[in-house]
C-alpha cells in the first residue's frame, strides 16, 4: 500500500515535471515515461464488474493497447505519448487557425486589420458547426451557455492581441504570422487525459527496454485477472471483486456494483 502511494507520488511528480518543461513548442520526445509508472491494479480494478469474463477483460485491454500505440509500431514506448502530444498540439493550433481565418472574408489567406475590425464589429460569436460551417449567431447571454462540443465552438478574439503578431507592421497577417499566432496561447503540452494510461502501460516492461509489447501487457493483464478470479471459473463475481478491493484497496465498492449491475 505504501509502495503504491510512493509510485503515485512519483508519477505525479513526473507529470508536474513535464508541465514545467512545456515551452511554446515543447520537446515532448524528451519525456521518458518508462521510468514513472502507476500501479496498474488501480486502473484495472476500477473497470471490474460482476459477470465480466476473462475474454471481455482481455479484449478491453487489447483495445486500450491499440489506442495507446499511436504510431502503430506494435509496442507502446515513449514515442507514443510523444506522438499523441504532437497530434494534440497540432489539433489545438489548427483550431486557432480556424478561428482567426473566420475573419478572412475575401479568402486570400491574409487577415488584415480591416478584416478583423469588420469581423469583430459583427456578431461576436458565430456558432461554428462540426465541419466549419456557421450554423447561427449567438447573442451575448446565450453565448455563455454553449461551449465547445455538441454544437460547435464559439469564435472570438482580441484585435490588438492578434495584430501584435504582425511582425513586419504592414497591417496584414500573412500565413507565417497566422501560424505564429496559432502557436501562441496556453499550450497544454501534454494530453492529461492520456498521461495516466501511459503510466500504467509502462509498468509492463519485464525486460526494461522501455517498450511494452502486447505479449508483455497481456501476461500482466492475465495475471491480474487470475488474482481476482480466485475460483478460477473465468468469470468475476461480486464477491471476488469485493475481496480484491479488501486486498488491494482498489475497485468499486459492493454497493456501487449492486447499483450498476442488478442481481440476476
Amino acid at each position: 500500500m505504501k509502495r503504491c502511494a510512493c509510485l503515485i507520488a512519483a508519477a505525479a511528480a513526473a507529470l508536474t515535471c513535464c508541465t514545467a518543461q512545456a515551452q511554446p513548442r515543447p520537446r515532448t520526445d524528451a519525456i521518458d515515461l518508462s521510468r514513472a509508472v502507476l500501479d496498474p491494479r488501480f486502473m484495472f480494478s476500477v473497470t471490474l464488474l460482476p459477470g465480466m469474463t476473462r475474454d471481455q477483460f482481455l479484449q478491453k485491454r487489447r483495445t486500450e493497447f491499440d489506442e495507446m500505440d499511436v504510431n502503430h509500431d506494435g509496442v507502446v514506448s515513449s514515442a507514443d505519448p510523444a506522438a499523441e502530444t504532437e497530434i494534440f498540439n497540432a489539433t489545438r493550433r489548427a483550431g486557432r487557425l480556424r478561428q482567426i481565418l473566420s475573419a478572412d472574408v475575401d479568402g486570400d489567406g491574409v487577415v488584415t486589420r480591416e478584416d478583423l475590425e469588420t469581423f469583430l464589429a459583427g456578431p461576436q460569436a458565430p456558432l461554428v458547426g462540426p465541419i466549419g460551417q456557421v450554423v447561427g449567431f449567438l447573442a451575448g447571454p446565450q453565448a455563455r451557455i454553449v461551449g465547445p462540443g455538441l454544437l460547435g465552438q464559439i469564435v472570438g478574439f482580441d484585435r490588438d492581441e492578434v495584430m501584435g503578431f504582425d511582425r513586419n507592421g504592414d497591417g496584414r497577417l500573412d500565413w507565417s504570422e497566422l501560424v505564429a499566432w496559432a502557436h501562441a496561447g496556453p499550450d497544454p503540452g501534454i494530453n492529461f487525459a492520456m498521461a495516466p494510461r501511459y503510466l500504467v502501460i509502462m509498468a509492463f516492461n519485464d525486460d526494461h527496454d522501455g517498450k511494452t509489447t502486447w505479449a508483455e501487457f497481456r501476461a500482466g493483464v492475465e495475471k491480474f485477472f487470475q488474482s481476482v478470479d480466485t475460483d478460477n471459473d473465468g468469470t468475476l463475481s461480486l464477491e471476488e471483486i469485493e475481496a480484491n478491493r479488501q486486498r488491494t484497496g482498489y475497485g468499486p465498492p459492493a454497493e456501487l456494483m449492486r447499483a450498476l449491475v442488478p442481481p440476476r
Binding site: I87, A94, G132, V135, V179
Partner: protein, 231 residues
C-alpha cells in the same frame, strides 16, 4: 480526445450531406410558398416554455446579430455580409481540418505528417485484419493529401488556401444564410429594409401560430405540431 475527433471525421461527410439535403429541401419549398417557409426558419429558435415577451427578446438579439452594419435595418448589404462571413467560416473550417496534420507546426504539411496523423486517427477496430486497417489508413491519407494540388508531396500555404476556396465554393453554407434570407422577406412595406418592428411583427405572428391554445406560452407539443411538415 482522439476518440472524439475520430468520430467527428467519420460523421463530417454525413453531416455535410445532411446539410446539403436540408438546403435542397428548403430551396424547393421556398419556391412553393416563400412566406410560410421564412416563418418556419424564424421558428427554429423558439423553445418550449417561452412566453411572447421572452421570444421577442430573443428575436431582438437575432435581429441585432443579423444587422451587421448596425444601421437598425436588415438590408441586402447585411445579407451579403452574412454570406461572406459564413463562406469565410467554411473556408476556415476546411483549413483547420487540413492543418491538424501540421504536426511540426511549420505551417506546411508533408506526406509523412499526413501518414502519421492518419495512422493515429484510423486506430484499430476490434478484430480487424491488418489489410483492412491499412486500407482505411490509405483512404484517410488519400483524402488528406487532396490539397497537394501540384502533387509534390508537400501541401504549402498557397495550396491550402486555394483548396479551401475550392471546397467552400462547392459546398453550401449553413443556417446563418437561411436566417438572413428569411429575415429579408419580412419587409412588409416593401421599402427594401426590414426594421426591428417588421421583424418583431413576423416573430409575433410565428408565436401566435404556434401557441394554438392561446395561453401565452408555447409548449413542446405545440412546437412539434408546428414543425411537422404540412401535408
Amino acid at each position: 480526445m482522439r476518440t472524439r475527433s475520430k468520430r467527428l471525421i467519420r460523421t463530417a461527410p454525413a453531416c455535410a450531406l445532411a446539410v446539403a439535403a436540408c438546403l435542397a429541401a428548403v430551396t424547393l419549398a421556398a419556391a412553393q410558398q416563400p412566406a410560410a417557409l421564412a416563418e418556419r426558419v424564424l421558428a427554429r429558435s423558439i423553445q418550449s416554455g417561452m412566453t411572447l415577451a421572452r421570444y421577442l427578446d430573443q428575436s431582438r438579439a437575432e435581429f441585432q446579430n443579423l444587422d451587421l452594419d448596425h444601421d437598425r435595418a436588415l438590408t441586402s448589404a447585411d445579407g451579403e455580409g452574412v454570406r461572406r462571413r459564413s463562406a469565410a467560416a467554411m473556408r476556415a473550417g476546411v483549413i483547420g481540418e487540413i492543418m491538424r496534420a501540421d504536426l511540426d507546426g511549420d505551417g506546411k504539411i508533408t506526406q509523412d505528417e499526413v501518414v502519421r496523423l492518419s495512422i493515429a486517427l484510423a486506430g484499430v477496430a476490434p478484430q480487424e485484419s491488418e489489410e483492412n486497417r491499412r486500407k482505411r489508413v490509405d483512404d484517410v491519407v488519400a483524402e488528406r493529401m487532396k490539397p497537394d494540388l501540384d502533387h509534390d508531396g508537400v501541401i504549402d500555404a498557397a495550396e491550402i488556401i486555394a483548396y479551401a476556396r475550392q471546397r467552400a465554393g462547392a459546398a453550401s453554407s449553413g443556417g446563418a444564410n437561411a436566417a438572413i434570407e428569411a429575415a429579408l422577406t419580412f419587409d412588409a412595406d416593401g421599402d427594401g429594409k426590414v426594421t426591428l418592428a417588421e421583424y418583431e411583427a413576423a416573430a409575433a405572428r410565428v408565436f401566435r401560430a404556434i401557441d394554438t391554445d392561446g395561453d401565452g406560452v408555447v409548449s413542446k407539443d405545440e412546437i412539434d405540431a408546428y414543425r411537422r411538415p404540412a401535408r
